[in-house]
């Protein structure tokens, strides 16, 4: 069974009681800095760089500085610096330098650079990867120590929440969100202000706020990075939402595959409670709000809101038909507001700086910025945040640095398993909810997988169908059997055993699965098939008629099938 839920929102006794002495001894804080630090080495401690031993790099820098008796250089653990492909990353904010792929052998060189580092007035002009971005949600990523609430407070943290609970009525908070034009960053793009207002208007005093951190799209790591780099921001957003809709209890539903995010969230919840930003009488008002953590057990479908609710309640993570929507009847049958990590992380800024300021960026009905995870065949893989309305070409070629090894760009996959592949001829399109939908894709949670001419589009469609088949909960027939059948048909094509009649059948079954499935997983599952058929039909035909895989990926048996 994969649908078990582990409940663990409470820090362990050791952490709760003896937290400080234990943590101090375990957690090196860097050399003793006397007075103001002349320079700081900000060492990325998010999952990408950690996997390349950035924790060891941190310790080595500290040890060498201590050994050399340096007292005016600080070393700091920070969240994601963005350019994950070049990790471990170390930034020196005072000089604007970014050291890449810092191995343990490079540390002595880095330390000597730190010793002679001189703060500069004008920071060096950064490459387009940084200069073309606009960081709102990620404004603290790579700047603050994710486990330190004082660091968050020093960067205007919790100002939004304090303003909301002390100066505004719940309705004014909702109005502010509505003015910002913020839409659900989990993918579907439902207007956040409208959602909040719907929950706020429901009768009854028992309501819930749930943060959906069950990020499961292949190649997507936006929510993970936000939680690992700036967890207080998400908690602040949830608290503001709770104040606006009239909830006093919330849950973060995080997938268990993100142990670091879970650890940092636990620590953040604990410290926010101690600091009075969670719990009773927040900011000395009458507003109370507590947050608990729930861990998913590895089911993609639990990101669907009704399945998520079932999972939090301890049941099997299977969706139920909507209506009723969770806004009217959700957790324990009570009105429930469910937003994604990035949506909540956008809220503090909106309350702090105002909805109009947030809405200045963007295009049409898509306002603000969106975080994307660039992955696949791209030079600068990593975490980026761009204003909505930016050209897709700028994201991939300016920020992403294009395709490596001199290969030719073929397509970019957005929106995860419910999304689609966008071909080269559409690269000048704007990145926003409506344009992506019109192109047969989907905003999704923000994964962007770049493919070059070594990718076979039929094989890509088959890969995503295999994913949906594996992740189908098995409740409704079209998704349970349909995704299996579609996967069998796509396999047949990639093996060169299909006929043109099979292609026709593929299209009709895909339409049936899209139209009759119970939840978004099944309804979206055929999307990669539709979008590859729309833009790369010739590749399907090459497999079927000519028994050739143009990209040279599929091993076709060839010849035995009559087209």
């Amino acid at each position: 069974m994969t649908d078990l839920v582990t409940a663990d929102g409470v820090p362990s006794a050791r952490e709760a009681d003896g937290a400080k002495p234990v943590r101090r001894s375990r957690r090196m804080t860097g050399p003793q800095v006397v007075g103001h630090a002349r320079a700081t080495a900000a060492v990325c401690q998010a999952a990408g760089c950690l996997s390349a031993q950035s924790d060891k790099v941190f310790e080595e820098i500290t040890a060498q500085l201590v050994a050399d008796g340096v007292t005016d250089v600080a070393v700091k653990r920070v969240g994601c610096l963005g350019l994950c492909a070049a990790g471990p990353l170390v930034e020196v904010p005072e000089t604007g330098e970014l050291f890449r792929q810092v191995s343990l052998d490079d540390v002595s060189e880095l330390v000597s650079a730190l010793k002679s580092a001189k703060p500069v007035e004008t920071k060096p002009v950064l490459e387009p990867f940084f200069s073309r971005q606009r960081r709102v949600v990620l404004e603290n990523c790579g700047k603050v120590d994710p486990e330190n609430i004082d660091d968050y407070l020093s960067r205007k943290g919790y100002r939004g929440l304090v303003r909301a609970v002390t100066e505004l009525t719940p309705q004014q908070v909702i109005d502010e969100i509505a003015k910002s034009g913020l839409r659900g960053r989990g993918g579907a793009g439902y207007p956040t202000g409208l959602k909040w207002s719907t929950v706020a208007k429901q009768p009854g005093s028992e309501k819930y706020v749930v943060c959906n951190a069950d990020e499961g799209d292949p190649g997507a790591f936006m929510d993970r990075s936000v939680l690992e780099s700036d967890p207080y921001r998400v908690l602040e957003g949830m608290a503001i939402a709770a104040y606006a809709v009239g909830a006093s209890h919330g849950y973060v539903y995080c997938r268990a595959e993100y142990p670091l995010a879970v650890q940092r969230l636990k620590a953040a919840i604990h410290r926010a409670e101690k600091a009075g930003y969670l719990g009773e009488a927040i900011a000395e008002s009458t507003f109370n709000f507590t947050v608990e953590l729930r861990l998913g057990a590895g089911a993609f479908v639990c990101g669907e809101e009704t399945a998520l609710i079932a999972s939090i309640q301890g049941g099997r993570g299977t969706p139920v038909p909507r209506p009723p929507f969770p806004a009217a009847s959700g957790l324990r049958g009570k009105p429930t507001l469910i937003n994604n990590v990035e949506s909540f992380a956008s809220v503090p800024v909106i309350l702090r700086d105002g909805g109009e300021a947030y809405a200045e960026v963007g295009v049409g009905k898509s306002r603000g910025t969106k975080v994307f995870a660039l992955a696949g065949r791209i030079v600068n893989g990593g975490l980026i945040e761009v204003p909505l309305g930016i050209k897709l070409r700028d994201v991939i070629f300016d920020i992403g640095g294009g395709v490596p090894d001199g290969r030719k760009f073929k397509a970019v996959q957005t929106g995860g398993p419910s999304g689609g592949c966008i071909p080269e001829e559409l690269l000048d399109m704007s990145v926003d909810y409506e344009s992506l939908l019109a192109a047969g894709s989907f905003m999704g949670s923000g994964g962007m997988i770049v493919m070059d001419d070594t990718s076979c589009m039929v094989d890509v469609a088959r890969y995503f169908m295999d994913f949906c088949r594996e992740e189908s909960c098995g409740k409704c027939v079209p998704c349970r059997v349909g995704t299996t059948e579609l996967h069998m048909m796509l396999t047949k094509i990639t093996e060169g055993r299909a006929t043109l009649a099979d292609l026709k059948q593929l299209e009709s079954v895909a339409a049936m699965v899209r139209d009759t499935s119970l939840c978004g997983l099944g309804q979206g599952a055929p999307n990669p098939v539709f979008s590859t058929l729309r833009y790369f039909r010739d590749e399907y035909l090459a497999h079927i008629v000519d028994h050739v895989c143009p990209a040279g990926v599929c091993a076709l048996s060839g010849g035995e099938s009559v087209a």
């Binding site: 069974m1 994969t2 649908d3 089911a299 479908v301 099997r316 299977t318 139920v320 038909p321 209506p323 088949r469 594996e470 992740e471 189908s472 909960c473 098995g474 409740k475 409704c476 027939v477 079209p478 349970r480 059997v481 349909g482 995704t483 299996t484 059948e485 069998m488 048909m489 059948q505 009709s508 079954v509 049936m512 139209d515 009759t516 499935s517 119970l518 309804q523």
Partner: protein
């Protein structure tokens, strides 16, 4: 009580607040095929056979869980819906090993009856042909997973009517199975009361009573006292 008026396939109907489209359609003589639905049990909207088109909604809605609303215009039998229903039944046949000729439920099977009604004469889809178990460890009953269509009627009747909750679902996707007591053999179940309600509600020959022809266990269904009196008729 609020009453809504709506049209189903052009027929003007009246439905009380809280009634489903399926309830009102059947009261008005419009037949919508169903499999997982059974009067007297909660609806789960799983088989998708009863999906209908509602004017103004871009999505197809399952009539068993969609409440009636004022001025609703419902279509239950468009070409597209009929084609999709046929595809659903075809998928169920392709999923597991349904061989009517050697089945205990032959001629008393709702899946077979739906296939006949929809004119499904052969399968275009490739069959999955899984290797599945038969659990005959119970003294009186047995379950053949080859014939199960995952309608979960057994799960619901056991939970909602008998109150035992012996049955539940395990696994996901194509590996989903109905199980007794966290996957133990049925014969070793400590919660099963042996009431046989799961046998009576099973639409196919998946759950059956040992040594009795299915006809004698199925024919009683309309008279089962624990389900509503206007229970679904079983084709004779």
């Amino acid at each position: 009580m609020t009453v809504h008026t709506l049209t189903i396939d052009g027929i003007e109907c009246a439905g009380a607040e809280g009634q489903t489209v399926l309830d009102v359609a059947r009261e008005s003589g419009v037949e919508i095929p169903t499999l997982c639905h059974l009067d007297g049990l909660c609806d789960v909207g799983a088989c998708r056979l009863c999906v209908v088109e509602v004017k103004g909604s871009s999505k197809l809605l399952p009539s068993c869980t969609t409440a009636v609303a004022e001025g609703m215009e419902v279509t239950t039998d468009s070409d597209r819906l009929v084609a999709y229903r046929k595809a659903i039944i075809e998928m169920l046949f392709a999923e597991r090993n349904h061989i009517c000729a050697v089945c205990v439920a032959n001629n008393h099977c709702e899946l077979q009856a739906q296939a006949a009604d929809l004119g499904l004469t052969h399968l275009d889809l490739d069959t999955v042909n899984p290797v599945l178990d038969v659990d005959a460890s119970h003294e009186r009953f047995a379950i053949d997973h080859n014939r199960c269509i995952m309608c979960t009627r057994c799960v619901r009747v056991c939970d909602e009517v008998e109150g035992a909750h012996t049955w539940d679902v395990m696994g996901r996707g194509l590996d989903a199975r109905v199980v007794t007591d966290l996957g133990m053999p049925w014969g070793e179940s400590t919660t099963c009361t042996g009431c046989g309600k799961c046998v009576q509600v099973c639409p196919t020959g998946a759950i059956f009573e040992k040594g009795r022809p299915i006809a004698t266990t199925k024919v009683k269904r309309p008279y089962l006292p624990y389900l509503k009196s206007h229970s679904q008729e079983v084709p004779a």
